[in-house]
Amino acid sequence: MAFRFIHTADWQIGKPFAHVAGDPGAELRSQRIRTVQRIAELAAEAQVDAVLVAGDAFDSNEVADRTIFRTVEALKPFGGTWVFLPGNHDAALAHSVWTRARAMGLPDNIVIADRPEPVDRWNGRATVLPAPLRRRREVMDQTDWFDEAPSPEGSCRVGLAHGSVAGRLPDRGDSSNEIRDDRAERARLCYLALGDWHGALRIAPRTWYAGAPEPDRHKANDSGHVHLVTLDGPGAPERVEMRAVGHFAWVRLEVELLGTCDKAIQALEALGRDPRACVVSLVLKGSVSLSERDRLERALALWEARLHHLDADLGGLVDDPSADDLDALDTAGFVRLAVERLRARAQDPADPEAAAARMALRMIYLDHLRGAEG
């Protein structure tokens, strides 16, 4: 009889998102727990045998008690077995989120796999081999013991680990918590459920990252899913379905502007999703005239209200006051004199106050426009 389970990881409950101020930040925090509940509901719906959480369910070992409590509450819709593996964020230290959770009194269906011991709760159909992290950074491959781990005859061996598969992931200078890329084969695993990488990824034969179910960063990877896995028996190929559970879309837009701000506005308009579920990072580069800059800022103010959160980085956007801009200011008089001087400074790369001069020009330009309006 087949063994079906949900593979998920990297919930990172308790991640603060403090750089997103106010209600949107609070919303991002609470959404993560709602997404866990969504996973529980999905598990109940799909009638799986287990949900395997491959590490980093919590953002840190020092999250508040109420956060742990609310997370446990969110698991309730699924009464089957939950297996939690301590990851690098929530390592099974002497005192950890897990010891605290246990102290709160957990229901029987929740298994905290903080010891390298086989978990066998499915009448011999499957044996889960956990490789818990008991320090934040382990030097040795914690999955070594899988190779020799015993399991009943005919049982599907499922590995559960947290870390980076050696030599396979990009951007990983860190060599801690490494996992051999042939572990699945060596340990005769039907499936190796991994966590740590926030995108969904099959990284080696029978070796999968589920990714974070609720995206939490502007990275173009496949996050926002869980894996619904079916193992028909030892040796049979694994069947993996990706199920979207995430709520927020984290979008990063990088736009280079030349003179006008149209491209930036177009990029926002092209998001193609409910803007209220979008967390957008907009990085603008290039240069615009002062009048365009004014238009851009008005547009961004509008989008800020529309989107769940907009983080606009205009640091790379240079003002390039056009002759029209300046003529609009004044053709004569002391204002013109001041503007000319500021402009000269703004264009002098050696001037330490060049940036301030640019902003000063923008200010006077805006004052001028408002004066014209008012």
Partner: protein, 873 residues
């Protein structure tokens, strides 16, 4: 604007005045003081700037004193090439009318139209004030007595500024420039205080960032502390697990049990040694006892033998001593016989001597008694005589003092008697035949004279009575003499003598008796120095001595006595010698006897001792024969040797078991067990404490808070960076604008200087006026490159400079199409003549383009001005 005709009716002191024919250029309106020049200026202001409906103080100010009339003013003027007629009536039925070729206005429209035409701001309510409401006219129309004061640009500033801008173009940036500067100032003020300190949201943001940094540091510290505690907990858990894994406590307990077994064995060996030692000590004691017993027996035998020897020796000595005693006895008896003989002889000699001596003493006693008795008799006789003498003396009462007193009294009587007689009447009688005479009844010896001192009656027999009455105090003197005689008689009676002579003889007798008594007393003393009684006692004593001696017999012969004494002496010598002999012999005998008695006692004691020792020895031997004692001693010695050997063996066994090692091992095992148990307890306790502590920390969610604060801090820092840039930019912008404006202002005031200069040149070459670029007020005056403050100039100079500046400003206004007439009401009263003529040139020059009205009371000053004169009166 050019004024043409002014008509004033019932305005203040002016009942009706018309000023006509005012020309384009210079006009002089002459009026004496009080003629109403200044009122004319006020009327002009009223018709142009006051609302016709104005009430209150402004309206009251228009009325002549104490009258209720209707002030009315008409003004004809040219403006913009057109002729305008204006009429206003105030207070009663106020009216306003304005006419031009292009239209006609009345009522409130007039005020609005005028404000528009002339560019001023009508007052909201109340009167119009030159500085606030009359625009440039406030500046250009100079009231009497104010010419030397500040310009009072006031509301004229806007007009002048506007005019200047039309002249110098956009130098100043115009309204927009000012608005931008204001905006920049506001922006700057949003970020900076006046002292260039951050303020507002920027400052708050900075503070928030600082606060967040502090919180972050605090949380990080707590987080790290938390982390440290987790590590501590892990270390404790690991240590506990190691104890368990290695069974360290079990091992220690096992070691301890083994050590305890070894310790038991060692203890047993030690006990064995102690017992062997005890046995050895007992054996030694037994052997010592056997030896003692044997020694005691030997000692007993020795003592008995010694006693036998001593007894024998004492018996022998006693025999010898008895012989000695007998010899001493015989000697003592012989000595006693000789002594008795010698004593008899001595006693006889003694008797003889005593008899001789008694005879001698009796004789002596008789002689002494005789002597004493004679002495006693003499003394007793002398004593008797002394007492007789004393009695004689005592019988006489008169003393030397009494005698002296008697003699004094006798002298006093004699003296008084003599005086009395001298004073008295002496009557000598010579009776015939002896006829009797009585005086005062007493018979009188007729042969003797009578001295009469007092009245007396003398009976002369045969004759009769004769009364004599003496005079001259004779009576008193006679009484005095009688008193003295009585006193003497009384004293003599008291002394028991008849007259003073007898008294003298008695005293002589008394003194003789006292001398006799004294002589007898000396005799008594010589005979009985110790007193008569002592002498009597001596006599009695001597008689008793004699009685004692008795009568006896024998001759009282001194030689016999002496011989007897010599015999006695010899006999006594003999007795003493024999007594010494006898005493020595007795002493020797007694000593020998005592020695013998002692020796015999000793002999008896020795005999008893010898007997007792023999019995004791026999008894002891009967109980334990000497041989048995010897055997017992031999056995005890053998047993002691055996016990010593056993003790040595036990000691060797104990030493072989190495008890020090056993003890040390025991101690080590105990300590190890205790230490491990304590370590486990401590680790367990610490582990629990840490778990509790971490549990508490966990509830706070330090890590979550830290992450939150860090995220917020990052956000705020970014915002602060932007704000900081804005702050820097706002400052830079403001500074740039201010600097540019300041430079431009300098250029801005250029036209004013340009306009002033030609006038000033007429007045005083190389001078310049310094204006404030904001208020346009005169700040100073520059002469030969040196600047003087306006208020430091003389009044004359000030009014000249002010007038010249006003003319220049009026030129500028005209240039901007806002031509205005200049009115100077006695504006140059402080100017000296030379300067005044210069000022005339100035006015002429100004009048080339401006209408200038000079109101003056000094016609003479302006007669030469070359301008039409209008007189008012």
């Amino acid at each position: 604007m050019r004024l043409r005709r002014i008509e004033v009716r019932d305005f203040r002191k002016l009942q009706h005045l018309v000023v006509e024919g005012l020309g384009d250029g210079l006009n002089v309106v002459v009026g004496d003081n009080e003629a109403g020049k200044s009122t004319l200026l006020a009327a002009l202001r009223a018709v142009l700037f006051e609302r016709h409906r104005v009430g209150g103080r402004a309206a009251q100010g228009m009325l002549p004193f104490g009258q209720s009339v209707r002030p009315e003013i008409r003004l004809d003027f040219d403006l913009g090439g057109e002729a305008w007629r204006l009429r206003k009536a105030f207070v009663q039925k106020p009216e306003a009318e304005l006419e031009s070729p292009r239209g006609r206005w009345s009522g409130d429209e007039v005020e609005e139209k005028l404000a528009e035409l002339l560019g001023f701001t009508p007052p909201g309510a109340g009167g119009s004030k030159p500085g606030e409401h009359q625009g440039a006219y406030g500046l250009l129309w100079v009231q009497q007595g104010t010419a030397h004061e500040a310009l009072g640009v006031g509301a004229g500033r806007e007009g002048i500024a506007a005019a200047l801008e039309t002249e110098v173009g956009q130098v100043l940036g115009g309204e927009r420039g000012r608005a931008l500067l204001t905006a920049a100032e506001r922006r700057r003020a949003d970020h900076w205080t006046k002292l260039d300190k951050p303020r507002g949201p920027w400052k708050e943001l900075r503070e928030e960032v600082e606060e967040l940094e502090a919180r972050q540091a605090d949380l990080r510290r707590r987080w790290e502390a938390h982390d440290g505690k987790v590590s501590d907990l892990a270390a404790r858990q690991e240590a506990l697990a190691r104890h368990e894994r290695e069974d360290s406590l079990g091992q220690a307990q096992r070691d301890l049990a083994a050590a305890r077994v070894a310790e038991g064995q060692a203890a047993r060996l030690e006990q064995g040694l102690r017992e062997a030692e005890g046995r050895r000590k007992l054996a030694a004691a037994a052997r010592d006892a056997a030896e003692g017993r044997r020694a005691a027996r030997a000692a007993l035998v020795g003592r008995r033998d010694a006693a036998a020897r001593a007894l024998a020796s004492a018996q022998e000595e006693a025999g010898a001593l008895r012989g000695v005693l007998e010899a001493h006895d015989a000697a003592a008896r012989g000595a006693a016989g000789r002594l008795a003989e010698a004593r008899g002889a001595r006693d006889r000699a003694t008797e003889r001597l005593a008899a001789g001596e008694r005879a001698l003493r009796r004789q002596e006693a008789r002689e002494a008694l005789g002597r004493l008795e004679a002495q006693l008799r003499g003394a007793e006789e002398a004593e008797r005589r002394r007492r007789v003498a004393l009695a004689g003396a005592a019988a006489v009462a008169i003393t030397a003092a009494a005698l002296k007193e008697v003699e004094a009294l006798a002298q006093a009587r004699d003296r008084t008697l003599a005086r009395s007689q001298a004073a008295s009447v002496r009557i000598d009688f010579a009776p015939d035949d002896g006829r009797a005479v009585t005086v005062d009844g007493r018979a009188q010896d007729a042969g003797a004279p009578v001295w009469l001192a007092a009245d007396a009656e003398i009976m002369l027999e045969g004759f009769g009575r004769l009364r004599v009455r003496p005079g001259g105090g004779a009576g008193d003197l006679a009484r005095e003499a009688e008193d003295a005689g009585r006193a003497l008689a009384e004293r003599l009676a008291a002394l028991g003598v008849a007259d003073p002579a007898e008294a003298r003889a008695a005293l002589q007798r008394r003194l003789a008796c006292e001398g006799e008594a004294e002589a007898q007393a000396r005799l008594v003393e010589a005979l009985a120095p110790q007193g008569i009684e002592a002498l009597q006692a001596a006599v009695a004593a001597q008689r008793s001595v004699l009685d004692e001696v008795g009568d006896g017999i024998g001759e009282a012969d001194a030689a016999v006595v002496e011989a007897a004494r010599a015999d006695l002496h010899a006999a006594m010598g003999t007795v003493a010698g024999v007594e010494a002999e006898a005493k020595a012999a007795e002493a020797a005998r007694v000593a020998a006897d005592r020695d013998l008695a002692t020796l015999e006692g000793r002999t008896a004691g020795l005999a008893r001792e010898h007997e007792a020792l023999g019995a004791e020895l026999a008894e002891a031997r009967a109980a334990v024969p000497d041989e048995a004692l010897e055997a017992a001693l031999g056995q005890a010695g053998a047993e002691l040797l055996a016990a010593e050997a056993a003790e040595g063996a036990a000691r060797a066994a104990l030493e072989a078991s190495d008890p020090e090692v056993v003890r040390l091992e025991m101690k080590r095992a105990e300590r190890a067990e205790q230490a491990i148990r304590a370590d486990i307890d401590r680790l367990g306790r610490e582990k629990r404490d840490l778990e509790v502590e971490l549990g508490a920390l966990g509830r706070e969610g330090v890590g979550e808070q830290l992450a939150e604060v860090e995220g917020l801090l990052e956000l705020r820092r970014r915002q602060l960076g932007l704000r900081g840039q804005e702050a820097a930019a706002s400052k830079l912008l403001h500074e740039a604008l201010v600097a540019a404006q300041s430079e431009s202002k300098d250029r801005w005031l250029g036209p004013v200087r340009e306009k002033v200069r030609p006038y000033l040149r007429l007045l005083q070459p190389d001078t310049d006026v310094v204006l404030n670029e904001t208020t346009l007020e005169i700040e100073g005056f520059r002469r030969d490159g040196r600047e003087e403050a306006f208020h430091d100039l003389s009044i004359g100079a000030r009014e000249q400079v002010a007038v010249v500046t006003r003319l220049a400003l009026a030129d500028i206004l005209r240039g901007a199409g806002r031509s205005a007439a200049v009115i100077l009401d006695d504006a140059l009263v402080n100017t000296d003549e030379a300067r005044l003529s210069r000022m005339h040139l100035v006015l002429h020059r100004a009048a080339e383009n401006l209408q200038v009205l000079v109101l003056t009371c000094r016609e003479r000053d302006f007669r030469q001005l070359g301008a039409p004169l209008v007189r008012i009166r």
